[in-house]
Amino acid sequence: MSARIVVIGAGMAAHRLVDSLVTRAEDRLEITVLGDEARRPYDRVGLTRFFDGETAEDLTLPATIFADPRVTLHEDDPATAIDTGARTVTTASGTVHAYDHLVLATGSVAARPPVEGAELPGSFVYRALADVEDLRRHVQERAAALDRPVRGVVVGGGLLGLEAAGALRGMDAEATVLQSSDRLMSAQLDLPAGAVLRRLIEARGIAVRTEARTTALRPGPDGAVESVLLRDGDEVPADLVVLTVGVRPRDELARAAGLSCEERGGVRIDAACTTSDPRIHAIGEVAAFDGQCVGLVAPGYAMAEVVCDRILGGDATFDGYDLSTKLKLSGVDVASFGDAFATTPGALDVVYTDPVSGVHKKLVLSDDAKTLLGGMLVGDASAYGSLRPLVGGALGADPAVHLLPAGAGSAPTPELPDEAIVCSCSSVSAGTIRHAVREQGCTDAAEVTACTKAGATCGSCTVMVKSLVTGELAKLGKAVSTGLCEHFDLSRRQLFDAVHVSGLDTFSAVIERFGRGRGCDVCKPVLASILAVLVPEGHVLEGENATLQDTNDHVMANLQKDGTYSVVPRMPGGEVTPEGLITVGEVARDFGLYTKITGGQRVDMFGARLEQLPLIWQRLVDAGFESGHAYGKSLRTVKSCVGSAWCRYGVMDSTGMAVTLELRYRGLRAPHKFKLGVSGCARECAEARGKDAGIIATAQGWNLYVGGNGGATPRHAELLAEGLDDDTLIRTLDRYFMYYIRTADKLQRTAPWLEALDGGIDGLRAVILEDSLGLAADLDAAMARHVAGYRDEWAETLADPAKLARFRSFVNAPATPDPGLAHVPERGQIRPARPEERGSDSVLIAGTTLEVRR
């Protein structure tokens, strides 16, 4: 069979229809799509993301279907007439297209209210990309011309109006929403829910006026809109107006062609989505089923599937509308689903309201309180994803538990039945998602979305999709994705290899090649660490790398609870000269720092402010100290005991070896911090077996233990090799650490790494002592490069004025201390004031004074 299909309208429903046709049809088809916008079909539901920085290009729906030879898209050439007798469509350009099947997918037009001034310059509707482009341009122009924020007024307080108001706020404009009825979102919410929503919207800096009926838009001297006049006589000043008062189905072609239409608008269709002409279907917002048109995408998609099936000879039917909606305004949670207004006879409702935290939830139940009929969720819509699929089915538990705040009580997540619809935009059931994991090999939520379209449209079901996918993978005994984060699908180990092999040396280059987006607080530090190992000659804060570091690495100090930092100079092996101690004491005294001996055998000075760090370090560097890397995922300390030099039992020079090792591995970046210990005899005073590498002297030489850990999950290090001489010990340690650095997961210390390693300690021994992988030379070379490339980060920073700029406390007041700091005395030193102590007499330091009296 060969069929000529003409689709009028190139919007969302049309796109879905063509997508399904080209996917399902094996026959010869000729599909012609006529659009009156000068662009490919785009995601209208996501229109507001345009103001979040997404471009028109980003919003375009997948365009591959237009590459199919069976499909022709005529952009910017609207249909102007249908001849049902000749079965042709004529377009504005005069082209005539003959059809076997005609599909109307013309959507709706945004209505302008019938009031004076509704067409004035500066008044906008909110429907198409062209509208939001115009709106943004106008706001920018007004912002440039005014010396105050632009005032925007939105007429209409429904879903669209609130989205538009959010978009105005995103452009730094003021926003006032005028709603003619007594509450926001009156089509979805009842009065109490609307009142809670109003407070949430106002908290976002959006002004709301209810019972505000617009009677005219007034022009200013330049002819553009200047104010909105209300029926009660009030005049609201406006630099621009967005009209979101409803839509009208674009049924004019159908009417002219004599198709049966609803009085209030919309082309009548039956359950087969066929109009009064059997050759003509209608789908999407223009179609009126059961006397009603609906402005949601999900029913349009469902109709598209029905029409596709019918054209291909099937007998699918459209079963009616699901009116569930969720507001996509970031930070405001609102959802309404099923029979939210309890119109079913005998329906009961259960309501939970917490006006203080702005939460209102209502569930509508059947008269026996067993079946869920619908609900409204305001302020916390986290239950939307799990409740909506249950509509029409048994709730399975006391309804109250679904309404309590997250965390309170144990809201059961009943195992969803396979037929429950999880994604209503694309009508995807729980069973389809499970099938995608089980039979189609999808291994994460993103793949399931690509494969089933669940979650691809409004996104409100993504949490539910993800939890189904995870649950299903777990049932299959499959590991859940090891990707670092949403920006990288690679694990740390894979990424290390990828960077190593590609030779790339900047974050931008790596993410462009192996990832996506701009990175985050998870992947950026991981990459900083990888680059630091692979390119040890570069300063960790060189160029773009500086932006990868969290504040500790960025300012080379440890952040404390009040926003000040601690300073830890390196004292290799725990050794420090009297002069060194005196310098440390003087610095601590002069800057008023709290001083403490750490668990790592060195001195920590707390309470240093950002702008003080270079001053403090200048004094420390001048006295011969260097960075102790207490802030880095890198070598911390090599703990030592005093050993054979002084101790009457010591058999080898444990302190000397500890100093050698600390100087060798200082500054080496790793997946997590690592520590060593060296004891001079089996009494183990350095607690070496609690460290990532523990070295214990014996009469035969050094014994090396690896994979120890203190901390949350203590583990004693295991014996790797015995009786080593100095050089063999160092070579073995070099390979052990480099192998760990290359292969461990992010934030994995050596203890869990060793436990997960193939073959455990024997496997490790084979790799680094017997060179079973042929890696040893590579590992040795990498460590040699680190040792040669080491330079003190603090000395280099002090010598570079550009790097010092980051220590300015404020960009407009470079040396002013954070006025929010407050310290109190304790045991002769300072500590941060607790909230209840602030403002009391005991507060010593509110930023500017340094002196602490004993």
Partner: protein, 128 residues
């Protein structure tokens, strides 16, 4: 959103509501800077496309003034900053916390920003 003003004569008028902070050139891409406005602190961020965003420097979860020192990144296409203290992640456009680390949602105030002749201004008092 940064609006570039073209009429230099507006400068004196700007002074009424807008506070000049620093040359735009003082900001580094994707590295925050704090600015002081009387008793209040603003965290400024220059994004890769040249957009400047300003939010509270005060971290509502830890109570410390540290937001300017967090890692800048993106979540699902939105520019974000992660507090360096307890790692909550905030949307730089709306100030909303998008990863609360199990805490209740709190938000940062957003401060309107504009540039004029290479200088950066914020609206006093932030967004109302």
């Amino acid at each position: 959103m940064t609006t570039t003003l073209t009429t230099p004569t507006l400068a004196p008028q700007l002074a009424a509501n807008w506070e000049r902070l620093c040359p735009l050139a003082d900001l580094e891409v994707e590295r925050g800077r704090a600015a002081l406005l009387g008793d209040e602190q603003v965290a400024l961020f220059l994004l890769p496309g040249g957009d400047v965003r300003a939010v509270d420097n005060h971290d509502p979860y830890s109570g410390a003034n540290v937001i300017s020192r967090g890692i800048v990144g993106s979540r699902g296409g939105r520019p974000t900053v992660a507090s360096p203290m307890y790692k909550q992640v905030f949307d730089l456009r709306s100030g909303t916390c998008v990863d609360t680390r199990g805490k209740e949602v709190r938000r940062l105030r957003v401060w309107p920003v504009r540039t004029l002749e290479g200088d950066l201004y914020v609206l006093r008092g932030g967004a109302r």
